[in-house]
């Protein structure tokens, strides 16, 4: 199972990949992930790869090799599209984070709907998640990353059941935020199921 998680520095991507990696460890599967630390985290593009299997040989994914793309930001989802193939699940947050190259007027940010329509022309496996709204509903906007994990779990991309993922959340988030994150996970899960 090859998963590409993409987004912007500061969106909590490292935690979400850790939850998935933890679930793999619990299940006795091999896992190899690649993370971004350092300068690129300062509001730049963050690309994290998670590969799970009986034996995993490398931490990166080639074009067409992703079984799922988890996009925390529409433009970043689109930027990763060549990693996907016809049967790849593409789970994306719908809320843009506008880079300063756009807010300063130098470049343009495409309309998110146009991005999604463009993806839908070549894939019938796009799932759109209003992660911010659902996270706020769960109790805090910061839980967007776990909303996204819930939506991803609703697809059959991950080799884990809902319970296995929830157990990994319990192990990997601070205890006082477990309930909040499980609510966020549930809302994301249901949002994706409604679209499938």
């Amino acid at each position: 199972m090859n998963l590409q998680i993409v987004g912007v520095g500061g969106q909590g991507i490292l935690l979400s990949s850790k939850v998935i990696g933890g679930a793999a460890l619990d299940k006795g599967l091999d896992v190899w992930m690649s993370e971004v630390h350092g300068m690129a985290q300062r509001g730049g593009v963050v690309v994290t790869t998670v590969k799970i299997g009986e034996i995993v040989y490398s931490p990166l994914i080639g074009d067409g090799e992703a079984h799922a793309i988890l996009g925390f930001e529409p433009v970043e989802t689109y930027r990763a599209i060549k990693r996907a193939a016809k049967d790849t699940w593409i789970v994306t947050n719908i809320a843009p984070i506008v880079p300063f190259t756009v807010s300063s007027g130098k470049q343009k940010y495409p309309k998110p709907d146009e991005i999604f329509q463009s993806i839908e022309k070549v894939s019938d496996r796009l799932i759109k998640v209003d992660a911010k709204k659902l996270a706020q509903e769960a109790g805090a906007a910061i839980a967007q990353n776990i909303v996204m994990l819930g939506a991803l779990t609703a697809t059959d991309a991950l080799p884990f059941s809902r319970e296995e993922m929830e157990n990994s959340i319990r192990k990997n988030v601070p205890e006082k935020f477990v309930e909040l994150n499980l609510r966020a996970f549930d809302l994301g899960f249901r949002s994706a199921k409604e679209q499938m």
């Binding site: 912007v8 520095g9 500061g10 990949s17 850790k18 990696g21 793999a24 460890l25 091999d30 896992v31 190899w32 992930m33 690649s34 993370e35 971004v36 630390h37 350092g38 300068m39 690129a40 985290q41 300062r42 509001g43 730049g44 995993v56 040989y57 490398s58 931490p59 990166l60 080639g62 074009d63 067409g64 090799e65 433009v75 970043e76 689109y78 599209i81 060549k82 996907a84 193939a85 016809k86 790849t88 984070i97 506008v98 880079p99 300063f100 190259t101 756009v102 807010s103 300063s104 007027g105 470049q107 343009k108 495409p110 463009s118 993806i119 022309k121 070549v122 894939s123 911010k132 906007a141």
Partner: protein, 613 residues
């Protein structure tokens, strides 16, 4: 990360490559650790910050990599196992110490982790540090995975002790920042405090001793040769009737191994993990009966050149493919695509799944930028305001503030290395007709900004020396430094004062400001610009990410009735929390931390705290 201290051999745990290196050092009984933080090596120190004390070793953040190397050298020369680690360019800083340390050698194991950054994810260059192993005569290991990084670290201490030479572990980003399952070995007690036995003939590198020590180094390296020939980290993975031979190392090996396994390709692979001294015989035997060999290694043709030479003896007809034949590039890191393409030129590889081809949108670029609420942005704004229409050269340095290079700040004109802003500013002041600024951070000041300050005072350079003091080493993950009052092991420390050092060096103009007091800061910069000689301005305010409480501060809001759409805030600050929606400017409340910078800049008083409805 307390799990790294568990003495449970066989336990499996998910570790970052850098955490695995720490565990490897624990399994070797390391007694001393020293570093200066730098991506992608930083998490080794971040981890030890939390657990070095519990383990019972000594750990410090030294002022720079050279000092880290020297304190580590003394520990190992005294007989206490020592590890030092740094990013690839940090080895440049430490190289003066390292080159002669190789002549003297060590008594207890000394391991040097040199973390490379192919593709320049978070660095100023992508130099291939493997050449240091040749230059210095340093035995070298190249891991491919977190598990192997742990094993090699542990082994490197034994190897170093056997040879009485420091050993280099050369990693890259895709090992340091890869996370994988690591199986624990036995935990070892940390090496105790030692007693240095004097041996001036060996440890005092005056010329007559150096002349004796150089042959000693060559002799010890000679002993390392046979160890490399039979190293467990050089591993042959043959297939029956191979159509292609591959020699690979580091991350590059992983992709070719994966490609072979996924497609059942007829490729025999020799994976090299110990690459200095080079295992000539081992490689010779591998290529003896081969027709074609492809070398898979990132950056320079380090192995490829060796194989070319070895083939002359073992198999002159061998066709060697790699960088010299254009199958691979000397640039950037590799990935499965790059390796697939190169291998496909030599043997049949089944195609991968057809990648999705969506229509081409012009996507906006997203370079890293200063965080919302970053005090550096306020400093830069004040400098520009103080300059007005006057032109100035902005000599920049290594740290978050380098991001001032972006629009709309444009406050970086020259940058080559850590601490380099200051020397260069002096050079500009003596050789151009422009006003000059040097921008560097507090940690960088202690790293190498200080000698250049002294040199500048002495040579009567004329520029504004801005220490952007955010109370931490921010870019690499908030490590303490000599100015923070805290040690790497969490203990209290004397706070070394930037201002006192500057005054002590003879600087007359030394002022400290809070950059969020924009009017005052601007006024200080105006005076600093007019002051002849070096004027030091310390803009002091903690990094917003350091002070977590500030993150929950109330976000601001634009009053759309008062806003005149002048876009001063958007155009001058480049804060990503300020977003243009149609003609309106709105504030992204998930990003804004309420620093008030934009509110102070707005000429119409249209930005302020959100009023409860």
């Amino acid at each position: 990360m307390k799990e790294l201290l568990d003495d449970e051999p066989g336990k499996k745990i998910l570790l970052l490559g850098n955490e695995a290196i720490v565990r490897g050092a624990f399994e070797a009984g390391v007694g001393h650790g020293s570093t200066y933080p730098g991506t992608p090596s930083s998490e080794i120190g971040n981890t030890l910050e939390k657990i070095a004390k519990d383990y019972g070793m000594y750990f410090e953040y030294s002022a720079n990599e050279k000092v880290a190397m020297e304190v580590g050298a003394a520990a190992a020369a005294s007989g206490r196992r020592a590890m030092v680690w740094m990013k690839h360019v940090g080895i440049n800083v430490a190289a003066d110490a390292l080159m002669t340390l190789m002549y003297c050698g060590v008594r207890a194991g000394m391991v040097i982790v040199a973390a490379g950054d192919p593709s320049v994810h978070s660095s100023q260059n992508e130099q291939d540090n493997r050449y240091y192993s040749i230059l210095g005569g340093i035995p070298m290991l190249e891991p491919t995975s977190p598990q192997e990084a742990k094993e090699m670290t542990k082994y490197a201490f034994d190897l170093s002790e056997e040879l009485e030479l420091p050993v280099m572990i050369r990693t890259t980003t895709r090992v340091n920042h890869a996370r994988g399952i690591v199986t624990f070995g036995e935990l070892k007690e940390p090496a105790p405090i030692a007693h240095f036995e004097k041996d001036p003939g060996r440890f005092v590198a005056v010329p007559q001793n150096a002349r004796k020590n150089h042959p000693r180094l060559l002799e010890q390296l000679g002993k390392a040769g046979p160890l490399s020939e039979k190293s467990q980290f050089n591993r042959e993975m043959p297939v029956e009737e191979p159509e292609l031979h591959v020699i690979g190392s580091g991350a590059g090996f992983n992709y070719v191994h994966e490609l072979r396994e996924a497609n059942g390709l007829p490729i025999s692979i020799l994976k090299l993990g110990m690459t200095n001294p080079f295992p000539d015989e081992r490689v010779g035997r591998f290529i003896e009966d081969a027709k074609r060999v492809l070398i898979v290694e990132e950056l320079e043709p380090f192995i490829e050149d060796k194989v070319q030479a070895i083939a002359k003896k073992f198999n002159p007809a061998l066709e060697v493919y790699g960088k010299h034949t254009g199958h691979f590039s000397r640039l950037y890191e590799y990935d499965p695509n790059v390796v697939r393409e190169a291998v496909s030129k030599l043997i049949d590889v089944p195609p991968s799944e057809e990648p999705l081809q969506a229509e081409d949108f012009a996507l906006p670029s997203r370079p890293p930028s200063l965080c919302p609420g970053c005090p550096h942005r306020a400093t830069y704004y004040a400098v520009k305001k103080a300059l007005g229409k006057r032109e100035a050269i902005f000599s920049s340095d290594i740290g978050c503030y380098t991001l001032g290079v972006q629009d709309p700040l444009n406050t970086a004109d020259f940058l080559i290395c850590m601490g380099g802003s200051v020397g260069a500013a002096g050079g500009f002041s003596k050789n151009t007709d422009q006003k000059v600024f040097a921008f560097l951070g507090d940690s960088t000041f202690f790293h190498s900004g200080l000698p250049a300050l002294v040199s500048g005072v002495y040579n009567q350079h004329d520029f504004v020396y801005v220490v952007m003091d955010n109370r931490t080493t921010a870019m690499t993950g908030h490590q303490p430094h000599p100015g923070t009052g805290r040690t790497g092991m969490g203990g209290p420390a004397p706070m070394v004062s930037v201002e006192d050092l500057a005054r002590g060096a003879g600087v007359e103009f030394v002022e400290t400001v809070n950059p969020y007091e924009i009017e005052k800061t601007t006024e200080v910069f105006k005076r600093a610009i007019d002051h002849p000689g070096i004027s030091v301005v310390v803009t002091k305010y903690p990094c917003v990410l350091l002070d977590k409480k500030k993150l929950s501060k109330t976000p601001l809001k634009v009053d759309q009735d008062k806003c005149k759409r002048c876009y001063m805030c958007v155009n001058k600050l480049g804060c990503i929390a300020l977003v243009k929606e149609g003609d309106d400017v709105v504030i992204d409340t998930t990003l804004c931390i309420g620093c008030s910078h934009c509110a102070q800049v707005c000429p119409f008083d249209a930005i302020g705290p959100e009023v409860e409805q």
